[in-house]
């Protein structure tokens, strides 16, 4: 008899609110008593494929899982690889990496905010976010030549220099965005229906957040001031002034607010980056001298640099390296084991969404069926990124 009390609802993978995954939900009336995320629908074996690829060929490969946040995951891979190769990027390249990473963070957060909006029914914020995301994609395209999959960072530097007139475009975009965010606040963040839906929903307490090891804005919304950009500063972050946004409540609404404030912080960082950016080469000296002088001259004019032929045969030392990077959704960890051959022996990437997956299982029970999309959206979970 007691079994009959529960109803099992399978949400997904063909469901407007599930994404590429399935939730196995046990309902007691309208209350969730058990919640099990069932992932793997978009698993594409990035780790296995990487073992058969050259190091440089993995750059586009690691981008595929996190399409909304390609620059940051790419950066993490490059940092791990550079640690193995024992080289460093010149200062200008570090700033350019920071610039792209932050532009990417902005449009990744806008993406998350928009998806969360449509999940609780506000189509307006969804459309606005996706429309304004276009501005940042346009800027990134100006810099890298691609809209989403930038493949911009390469070992020892970046591929392209800052194009002419970029600063002016950037300041226009920031000015526009700052105005727009005020309207975002009025129609979404402060909307009474939104606050009713999100406040005190899906609370992850500080202790639980640490225990479950969740990452990124979700962790910071629970009161843990952990940001890799501050804990283990990489690229140009040590020289840049920004704040970690932390909130204590740990509910869905505070997660939204953390992301929303981080957009503003990222704009602040981007502004500083283009002000402080030093001049100089954008590829490490040891690679720079391998580029034929004729091509180098041309690259100095156009800003589009060539790769040296050695990139096909990058052979890092035998050993292992781990790197962590604060991506839009949280910490990305890359772990490379090298045996000295041109292919990695073992490549491991743990994405923020995979680390946040555990939050579903332990946060959802006790809430109502209608809270599933509200909490799901607030975690900014992206199934392809978790499945890899």
């Amino acid at each position: 008899m007691s079994e009959d009390k529960f109803m099992q609802v399978l949400i997904g993978p063909q469901h407007p609110g599930s994404g590429h995954m399935r939730f196995i939900v046990k309902m007691d009336g309208d209350i969730i008593s058990e919640f099990e995320p069932d992932i793997g629908y978009v698993h594409r074996a990035v780790e296995k494929i990487a073992e058969s690829k050259r190091y440089i060929q993995i750059v586009p490969l690691v981008e595929r899982p996190i399409l909304a946040d390609t620059a940051n995951i790419n950066l993490g891979y490059i940092l791990a690889l550079e640690r193995l190769l024992g080289i460093d990027a010149p200062p200008r390249a570090q700033y350019l990496r920071t610039l792209l990473a932050e532009i990417n963070r902005i449009h990744s957060h806008l993406y998350g905010l928009g998806i969360h909006g449509i999940m609780i029914g506000s189509s307006t914020i969804f459309m606005w976010c996706f429309a304004d995301r276009e501005i940042w994609i346009e800027l990134a395209q100006e810099l890298t030549g691609a809209r989403i999959t930038y493949s911009y960072m390469i070992p020892g530097g970046v591929r392209r220099d800052l194009p002419n007139g970029f600063n002016e475009k950037l300041s226009k975009a920031i000015a526009y965005m700052e105005e727009r965010l005020k309207d975002y606040e009025k129609i979404f963040i402060n909307n009474p229906v939104v606050t009713a839906r999100l406040i005190d929903v899906g609370i992850i307490k500080k202790d639980d957040a640490i225990k479950l090891g969740i990452v990124g804005p979700n962790l910071r919304a629970s009161g843990v001031a952990y940001d890799v950009r501050k804990i283990e500063p990489y690229c140009a972050y040590p020289e840049i002034d920004f704040d970690i946004i932390v909130r204590k409540e740990g509910d869905a609404y505070s997660r939204v607010l953390v992301r929303f404030e981080e957009i503003k912080q990222s704009m602040k960082i981007v502004k500083q980056v283009v002000e402080k950016i030093p001049s100089g080469p954008i590829i490490n000296e040891s690679y720079l001298k391998l580029i034929p002088p004729k091509l180098r001259e041309k690259a100095e004019q156009t800003g589009i640099w060539k790769m040296p032929a050695i990139f096909i045969n990058l052979k890092p030392r035998k050993g292992e390296a781990i790197s962590r990077v604060e991506a839009g959704r949280g910490e990305v960890t890359h772990y490379i084991v090298s045996d000295g051959s041109p292919n990695p022996y073992r490549f491991r990437v743990v994405t923020p969404s995979f680390r946040n997956l555990i939050a579903f299982k332990y946060t959802m029970p006790g809430h109502r069926l209608a809270d599933i999309p509200a909490i799901y959206g607030s975690l900014d979970y992206f199934p392809p990124s978790a499945d890899r």
Binding site: I39, G40, H43, A45, E47, K48, I49, S52, A209, I210, K211, L212, G213, I214, L219, V224, Y226, I231, E232, E320, I322, R324, E331, T333, Y335, V337, Y345, R346, R348, V350, F354, R355, L357, I358, K361, D387, R388
Partner: protein, 159 residues
């Protein structure tokens, strides 16, 4: 502010004979090699020191030695000094019988990471709350895909 070496010494002292080798690697990595039976106790002590979450669980296949290396990358959220380092907790398991006690009881954050490692590398974690297929289809009956004997075909450069 603790330097990497100080921390390494501290860990060596804390763990004593449980860990047979502790290395440090700049800028942020401390590698602890442990025998499989001691893993749970070492993990317990590390958790006590303030390493409160698992970042990565990796299984690597070494077919020549017939071993599987299992690595837990552990760090801290609460203690800023500890947060700056990552601990790699390494054990080697026999490939024929890759069994180890699950660390979920110590670090709940390892739950899905261990489950994925079971799924893709075939390591069996005893006492794991739910050791089932995660990424692979539930009726997967071939060898674990991240073993080196699981080959994937690539095309050459010629058409």
């Amino acid at each position: 502010m603790m330097s990497l070496n100080e921390l390494k010494e501290m860990i060596e002292k804390e763990l004593g004979a449980l860990a047979f080798k502790v290395d440090s690697e700049a800028p942020n990595l401390i590698i602890i090699n442990v025998e499989a039976p001691n893993l749970f106790e070492v993990a317990f002590k590390l958790n006590h020191m303030g390493f409160d979450h698992v970042k990565v669980v990796t299984g690597t296949d070494y077919p020549i030695e017939k071993k599987i290396e299992l690595v837990y990358h552990v760090s801290s959220y609460t203690n800023i000094d500890l947060a700056k380092v990552i601990i790699a907790l390494k054990i080697r398991l026999d490939k024929s019988n890759p069994k180890v006690k699950s660390l979920v009881k110590i670090w709940p954050s390892a739950e899905y990471l261990e489950r994925e490692t079971y799924d893709l590398v075939g390591i069996i974690f005893e006492d794991h709350p739910k050791l089932e297929r995660l990424l692979l289809p539930s009726d997967w009956d071939q060898i674990p895909p991240l073993w080196k004997d699981f080959k994937i075909k690539t095309e050459g450069i010629d058409a």
